[in-house]
């Protein structure tokens, strides 16, 4: 996919403003993240990149107590059309099962590898064991982790290496077959080798999933991102304009 | 024919009555047999002078019949009378006779199963072994506050008294102090047992306790020359005497009745004597 083809928008932000307890973080972000692309968001730290991701799955609303305030519209292509995800009729759970997220540092839950990956499926109400096993295996394969863990699925997930843990988290995010995957500096705590594996697997997911990735490393961005945007002063600009 | 059947009848009735007479004394001899087949709880509270007898009786009864549970609480005579009157316990003990007002208000039935006295007690090492009534009044009203004035060492007198619910206090206050003042700076203890323990530990303390509770750990003080022994209480020489009562609201229920019967049985009265009181039978 080339940049000049102008693919269909998957995520569309229009004049999104966000302030956290009165302190402005996003000052009118307007942007489009196209379908089946990896869009990288770069910029100095403390510019609200993570906040930007959290406006896309409304995760900021989980902060307790919630002091954030959002204005503007965020629309995502779900259910066959662009929908305003902040409309009351959309359930948070429903949204987050379609817009998954992977965090900066690997955060497996303190359970076995299998249970970690199966966790979202279990929450979604899957009760058939064989279905569960199939999906877990598929997700682990997608995350390039199956071969490494297939013999120890019931070991504690925290025994894995950092890179493996992060891939586990990616598998966990992918198991519900999300349409959008939000990645918050997914490789920042990993070594180069682990980093490359993750980059490779992300590139593989492009066909099924639209990705928005916050990153520090321009190298990495150059390797896998289709589009690059720069976050500056609470605004998001295309890289060439910056 | 008629004669024969009459004869059989006579023999039969004789045999039955024989059986009756043989078996009756047996059941009389064992008052615990009355509890056979009974189960449930007897709640007892009130007078603290009663507690040793209550505990011994409960032990005997509960050993013979574990199905019966007897719970014993203190609180003092006033509490016992009120609690039984309000229906909170089955038996309310009092170390004084319930007043007419109390009897008519609650419909109490009284059972007096022992005679007791209230004696002034001091520490065994205390030299003061006898007091006159007027000395006693002055001590308890706080006017005499040093042992020296009554022939003891030059030490302050530590007064111990009971709270207003106590029957022991009531009897002592009426019969020994002639309803005179009790100094309000006196230490207040909660029971006869507590009084004895407190005096036995305080070389300069003085208090009053049920005669039945007196042992080596405290020394009884003679009042106007009469030593507070059970003999002198019975003979009427020692004036501060009283009965120990168990009270029920109306007629006692079967369990409470069995318990009271036990107290009045030879075994029960032996317990009463053994704990230092004078049995009524």
């Amino acid at each position: 996919m080339k940049m000049n083809e102008a693919p269909a928008p998957k995520v569309e932000l229009r004049n999104v403003r966000f302030d956290y307890g009165g302190a402005p973080i996003l000052n009118g972000v307007t942007a489009v993240f196209p379908t089946h692309c990896i869009t990288a968001v770069v910029g100095p730290s403390g510019q609200g990149k993570t906040t930007l991701l959290m406006t896309l799955n409304r995760l900021w609303q989980e902060e307790r107590p919630t002091v954030g305030r959002l204005a503007g519209t965020v629309r995502i292509h779900l259910n066959g059309g662009l929908v305003d995800i902040y409309e009351d009729r959309y359930d948070l759970t429903w949204l987050r099962r379609r817009v998954a997220m992977v965090f900066q540092s690997p955060n497996p839950l303190p359970m076995s590898i299998y249970k970690n990956v199966a966790f979202p499926l279990k929450l979604a109400g899957e009760k058939r064991d064989h279905r569960m096993e199939e999906r877990v295996q598929a997700a682990l394969r997608q995350a390039f982790l199956w071969d490494e863990v297939k013999d120890r699925l019931h070991k504690d997930a925290r025994e894995l290496s950092g890179g493996q843990q992060q891939r586990l988290c990616i598998a966990r995010a992918l198991i519900l077959k999300p349409e959008v995957l939000l990645l918050d500096e997914p490789t920042s705590s990993l070594d180069l080798r682990a980093c490359e594996v993750i980059e490779a697997l992300l590139a593989h997911q492009k066909e099924s999933c639209t990705m928005v990735m916050v990153s520090h490393y321009l190298e990495q961005v150059r390797r896998i991102a289709d589009r690059v945007m720069v976050m500056e002063n609470g605004r998001l600009l295309p890289r060439d304009a910056a | 024919m008629l004669y024969k059947s009459l004869k059989t009848l006579v023999i039969l009735s004789f045999l039955i009555s024989l059986l009756f007479f043989v078996s009756m004394p047996a059941s009389l001899a064992d008052p615990l047999a009355a509890f056979e087949g009974m189960k449930g709880e007897i709640k007892i509270s009130g007078g603290t002078a009663h507690i040793p007898v209550m505990k011994a009786a409960a032990k005997a009864i509960m050993t013979a019949n574990p199905e019966v549970r007897i719970s014993i609480a203190g609180g003092g005579s006033g509490v016992g009378i009120k609690q039984v009157g309000e229906g909170l316990v089955d038996i309310g003990n009092s170390g004084r006779q319930p007043t007419e007002g109390e009897v008519s208000k609650y419909g109490l039935k009284m059972f007096k199963w022992a005679i007791d006295g209230v004696a002034v007690v001091a520490h065994p090492q205390n030299g003061v072994k006898a007091l006159t009534e007027s000395q006693l009044k002055e001590i308890f009203s706080g006017k005499i506050s040093n042992w020296q004035r009554i022939g003891g060492p030059d030490k302050a007198i530590n007064l111990y008294t009971r709270d207003a619910a106590s029957g022991t206090r009531e009897v002592f206050w009426t019969k020994a102090l002639g309803k005179g003042e009790i100094f309000d700076k006196a230490n207040v203890v909660v029971s006869n047992g507590a009084m004895k323990a407190a005096i036995s530990n305080d070389p300069y303390g003085i208090g009053y306790v049920s005669v039945g509770h007196i042992d080596d750990s405290v020394s009884a003080v003679a009042l106007d020359g009469v030593a507070p022994t059970m003999e002198r209480v019975v003979s009427g020489d020692y004036p501060v005497a009283r009965g120990l009562f168990s009270n029920t609201k109306g007629d006692p229920g079967p369990l409470a009745q069995a318990f009271l019967d036990f107290l009045f049985s030879p075994v029960g009265q032996a317990i009463v004597r053994d704990r230092g009181f004078i049995p009524v039978k």
Partner: protein, 285 residues
């Protein structure tokens, strides 16, 4: 929101409402049962008179005074010791020693009150009697000393907490100027932690006011106004424990609720005080 989400949320809320209703219910119940006294015109007499049921006088003032004196004595005795101990635990002692002592103090919070009372009777009472000849040993002082021991861990832990919250940079600044541990503590930590110290004192007072067993077992329970610390005295808490009334309509029973209400109001005021001090500005010197 799904049905189960809705149900669980309101289930939790119901539990919270029940829990919050408890202190309210206690207050309302006490007030209702004490109401006849509050309105009978005898309130003044009941609050200020002497306790002498035989003469129909049911005053609780001696107990109120006893409660105050005892609590203040206990906290006053405990305060310098607790402050010193907290200073050692959080500041002056080397790390492992401090941590060990902190653990010991926390374990001390677990010693049952009745054990303090028990040892008080058989150890402290004779000691006080011998050492200060004359009294029976059951006195305000005896109870206050044991009570001081009881409230110490609470106070120390709170003090340590507030010392620990003093910004590290201030200490470093002081240390950079060549201040010794003692100087840092006295001139930097102590002034900054004063709200926490106040909160600790108030909390200690609350504990001391509310304790029943030590006062009941050691203070002697005399109903008179105490004149000095060797006097026997009765607290509100011990009074409630001693007057086991069973008859609903007797004045003794009614006055118990006055005692209960008084304790309720006192401890509530202290709680409000603690909350207030925690919120006070003044972390800055």
């Amino acid at each position: 929101m799904t049905r189960s989400e809705f149900l669980t949320k309101y289930g939790f809320m119901a539990a919270a409402i029940i829990s919050a209703a408890v202190p309210l219910a206690i207050f309302i119940f006490m007030a209702l049962l004490g109401y006849p006294i509050l309105t009978s015109g005898r309130l003044f007499g009941t609050l200020l008179g002497a306790w002498d049921p035989i003469h129909q006088s049911y005053g609780i003032l001696p107990m109120i005074i006893g409660t105050f004196i005892l609590a203040i004595l206990a906290v006053a005795a405990a305060f310098p010791v607790c402050l010193g101990c907290a200073a050692l635990v959080s500041d002056a002692a080397p790390g492992p020693v401090g941590r060990f002592l902190h653990g010991v103090v926390r374990m001390m919070t677990g010693i049952p009150t009745v054990v303090y009372g028990f040892v008080g009777i058989f150890l402290l009472v004779p000691l006080i009697r011998e050492a200060f000849g004359g009294g029976s040993g059951f006195s305000l002082l005896t109870a206050a000393l044991m009570l001081a021991l009881l409230v110490s861990p609470t106070m120390i832990l709170l003090f340590c907490d507030s010392f620990g919250r003093v910004t590290h940079t201030y200490r470093q600044a002081a240390a950079a100027l060549g201040a010794t541990t003692a100087q840092q503590f006295l001139f930097v930590v102590l002034p900054q932690a004063r709200n926490g110290i106040l909160a600790g004192v108030l909390l200690g007072l609350g504990r001391a006011l509310g304790d029943t067993l030590i006062a009941l077992m050691l203070a002697g329970n005399a109903v008179a106004f105490p004149d000095h610390v060797f006097d026997s005295a009765r607290t509100l808490t011990a009074h409630i424990a001693l007057i086991i009334a069973a008859d609903f309509d007797s004045p003794e029973f009614r006055t118990l609720f006055l005692c209960g209400l008084t304790l309720y109001v006192l401890t509530t005021l202290l709680v409000l005080g603690v909350r207030l001090t925690m919120r006070l500005p003044g972390r800055r010197p």
